[in-house]
Amino acid sequence: MTIISFEDVTFSYQAGQSLQFPDVNIQKGNTTLVLGQSGVGKTTCLHLMAGLMKPKSGSIVINGSSIAQMTQSELDAFRGKNVGVIFQQNHFIGALNVLENIEMSQYLSGGKKDSVFCKELLKRLDISDKWNKKTTALSQGERQRVAIARSLAARPPIILADEPTSALDDTNTTEVFKLLKDQADFLGSTLVIVTHDNRLKDLVPHHINLNKS
C-alpha cells in the first residue's frame, strides 16, 4: 500500500526558481531515505511531504488524501494527525517542560492527552528521568530524543526526519538511526529520512535520489 506518492510534482519558490521532483512511491512500513546534495530541494521535499507547503503542479497523495486541494486549516489538521516531523534543529516551547512539550503534540493534533503513553515514549528513549525538566536544561542528544518522542506522541502513520544524523559521529549515527527505526516500528509508522548522509545508505534499503543524474 502506497503511503506517500508524488506525481509530476513541480514547485516554485517566491524568487522564481522552480524545481521538478521525480515521481515518488513510498510503501507503508518501508523505511526510506531521500538523498541529495545541498540545494537540490531536500528540505522542500520534506515540507511537501509534511503538508507544510503545496506544490505548483502535480499531485501529492499522503495516506490516501490529496493535499494539493486542501485549505490551509485542513492542511494544519491533516498534518497534525498524519505526520510527525523531526527537524535538524530541535526547537521546543520554552515555557513548558519536557512532558508538556510532548503532550502538546497530542493536543494540537486533535487527539486526547495521554500522559501514560508520553511517559512510556520517554522511557523507551531512555530519558524518563528528565520529564519535568525545562528543555533548555537538556544536552543536544537529550533534546533530539525529546524531539523524537514528540514526533511520535500523536501516533502519526508517517514520521519525517530532516538530517537527524548529520552532526553525529559514526557510532552515534547508527544508534540514533536504530532509535528512530525502533520507535517507528513500535508504532507501525513509516519512517522517511531526508539526508545527505551517505552513512545511512547501508542501513536503509529504499532510496529516493533527488540528485540530477
Binding site: 486549516s73 497534525g80 526547537h91 515555557a95 494540537l108 486533535g110 500523536a154
Partner: protein
C-alpha cells in the same frame, strides 16, 4: 494544552518582562482610577451639600465666598445683613420662594461651627434625629453626628462657645452655656459637622458680649451683672413666641434691627422667568448679594479642574506608554519564539491558535495590570482619606466601587488586546517554511 493555559505559562516564563509590563500598566490604571475615585467623591460631597439650595442671599462681597461660607462652611462670612433689608425674602408669602432658611454664624465649639437657624435647615439636608430632640429653647443645641463623635458631647452636656471659627480660649463666651438636647443621624453632608440652635441664641450670645465689653473693658467683670443681662435678652425673644411659632420667619421679621449672616433660598420653580432673573434683581437693586451655588461651584470645580487635568494627562501618557510596552514585549516575544510558533503549526496548530495565543497574552497582561492598578488606587485613596479627614473633616473612602471602574476595566482589556493585535496577526500570518528553512 489550550491557548489560554499556554498564554499563562508564556507570560510567567519571563517574570522580569511581566513585572515591567505590569508595573507600567498598573501605574496608568492606578492613577486614572484614583482620580475617578477622588473626583467622584469630591463632586458627591459638593453635590450632597447643594441640598437643592437654589440661591444664597448674604452681604455683598465675593459670591464664591458667600457659597463656601454658608453652604460648605469652609470660609468666613462676607458680613451680616439686617433682617429689615431681607424682609421680602423671609416673607412666607413670597411668590417665587418656596422656602427661605436664615443662617447666623459667628461662633464655634472646638472648631465646629454653631449655626443659628430654624428647623427648615434640617429639612434641607433631610436630617433625622438620632437621639433626643431638635432645639427649642434659647441656648439649646442639636448637634451633627460628626460633632458628637469627635467632641464626645452627649445629650444633657453643656459647653461654652468661642467667638469666630477657630477654637480660641481667649475668645470664649464664658457666660452662655449651650446645652445639647439632640444628636442628628449621619447624612454625609455638611450638617454632620454643625451645631444648630435658634437664631435668637446667636443674638443673645453676641449682645451679651457687646454689652459686657461696653460696661467694662476689663475681662474680669461682675458676674451677677452678666447674668442679669442674660435674663433681659432671653425674655425678649420669648415675648414673641406667643404670636408666632418659635424660630419661624414671621418671628424673625419682628426683629428688623437684628442681623443674620445669610438666607438659603429654594425656589418654587427653578425654571420660571422670575426665578432666573432673581439673582440679577437682588444684586442690582438691593443692598444684598445673591449667589447661585450650582454656578459658583461649577466655576470652582473648573478652576481646580486645571490641576486634575494635568494629572489626567500624565495618567493617559502612562497609559499610552504601558500599551506600547505590551506591544513591544509581545512583538519581541513573537520574534524570539518564532520557531516554537512555527512548531505549533507543524504539530497541527492552526493559524487561529497562534493568533489567539498572542492576543490572550496581551489580554492577560492588561487584566493583571488592571487588577494591580485598581487595588493600588483603592489603597492609596483610603490612605489619603485619613489625611483628608483629619485636615478637612471630609469623609472620603477607598472602599467604594464605582461603575466607572468597570468602564476602566473594559478600556484596559481593549488596550491589551489592541496592542497584541499586530504581533498576533503577523505571527499568525508568518510563513512557517521560511522560519523552518533557516532553523
Amino acid at each position: 494544552m489550550n491557548a489560554f493555559r499556554l498564554a499563562i505559562r508564556n507570560i510567567l516564563d519571563k517574570p522580569l518582562n511581566l513585572l515591567l509590563s505590569i508595573i507600567l500598566f498598573a501605574l496608568g490604571v492606578g492613577l486614572i482610577n484614583f482620580l475617578i475615585l477622588f473626583n467622584h467623591q469630591l463632586k458627591d460631597k459638593f453635590e450632597s451639600n447643594l441640598a437643592e439650595i437654589d440661591l444664597v442671599l448674604g452681604a455683598k462681597g465675593s459670591p464664591l465666598q458667600l457659597i463656601l461660607c454658608n453652604m460648605y462652611h469652609i470660609d468666613n462670612p462676607t458680613g451680616n445683613i439686617k433682617i429689615g433689608d431681607a424682609k421680602p425674602f423671609l416673607n412666607p408669602k413670597h411668590p417665587i420662594i418656596a422656602s427661605a432658611v436664615p443662617l447666623s454664624l459667628g461662633d464655634n465649639y472646638k472648631n465646629f461651627r454653631i449655626v443659628g437657624t430654624n428647623y427648615g435647615f434640617t429639612e434641607l439636608y433631610k436630617a433625622k434625629i438620632a437621639q433626643g430632640k431638635l432645639w427649642e429653647a434659647p441656648l439649646e443645641v442639636t448637634i451633627g453626628q460628626q460633632v458628637a463623635d469627635e467632641t464626645n458631647l452627649k445629650i444633657g452636656d453643656t459647653f461654652t462657645s468661642s467667638h469666630g471659627f477657630t477654637d480660641d480660649v481667649d475668645l470664649a463666651h464664658d457666660h452662655n452655656a449651650f446645652k445639647v438636647v439632640g444628636i442628628l443621624a449621619p447624612t454625609g453632608a455638611v450638617i454632620d459637622q454643625l451645631i444648630m440652635t435658634q437664631t435668637s441664641t446667636i443674638w443673645q450670645v453676641h449682645k451679651h458680649e457687646e454689652e459686657t465689653t461696653q460696661t467694662s473693658a476689663e475681662e474680669e467683670h461682675d458676674h451677677a451683672e452678666g447674668e442679669e443681662h442674660d435674663h433681659d435678652h432671653i425674655e425678649e425673644p420669648q415675648k414673641e413666641v406667643s404670636t408666632f411659632p418659635l424660630g419661624s420667619n414671621e418671628e424673625l421679621l419682628t426683629h428688623p434691627e437684628e442681623s443674620i449672616t445669610s438666607i438659603l433660598v429654594k425656589y418654587k420653580s427653578r425654571t420660571s422667568f422670575q426665578a432666573l432673573n432673581m439673582p440679577r434683581m437682588v444684586n442690582e437693586n438691593t443692598s444684598l448679594q445673591a449667589a447661585a451655588p450650582a454656578y459658583e461651584i461649577n466655576k470652582l470645580v473648573d478652576m481646580v479642574g486645571v490641576g486634575t487635568d494635568g494629572i489626567k494627562a500624565i495618567a493617559y501618557l502612562i497609559g499610552f506608554v504601558s500599551a506600547l510596552s505590551i506591544f513591544i514585549s509581545l512583538y519581541r516575544a513573537m520574534r524570539d519564539r518564532k520557531y516554537e510558533l512555527a512548531l505549533i503549526r507543524v504539530m497541527g496548530g492552526k493559524r487561529s491558535y497562534i493568533f489567539n495565543l498572542i492576543l490572550l497574552e496581551g489580554f492577560l497582561l492588561a487584566l493583571i495590570g488592571w487588577t494591580v492598578g485598581t487595588i493600588l488606587s483603592h489603597v492609596s485613596m483610603e490612605i489619603m482619606a485619613g489625611y483628608l479627614k483629619s485636615d478637612f473633616r471630609y469623609s472620603f473612602s477607598g472602599w467604594i466601587w464605582l461603575k466607572e471602574e468597570w468602564f476602566l476595566l473594559a478600556i484596559s482589556l481593549f488596550i491589551g488586546v489592541l496592542s497584541a493585535l499586530i504581533p498576533a496577526l503577523s505571527a499568525a500570518k508568518r510563513d512557517i517554511n521560511e522560519v523552518l528553512d533557516k532553523g
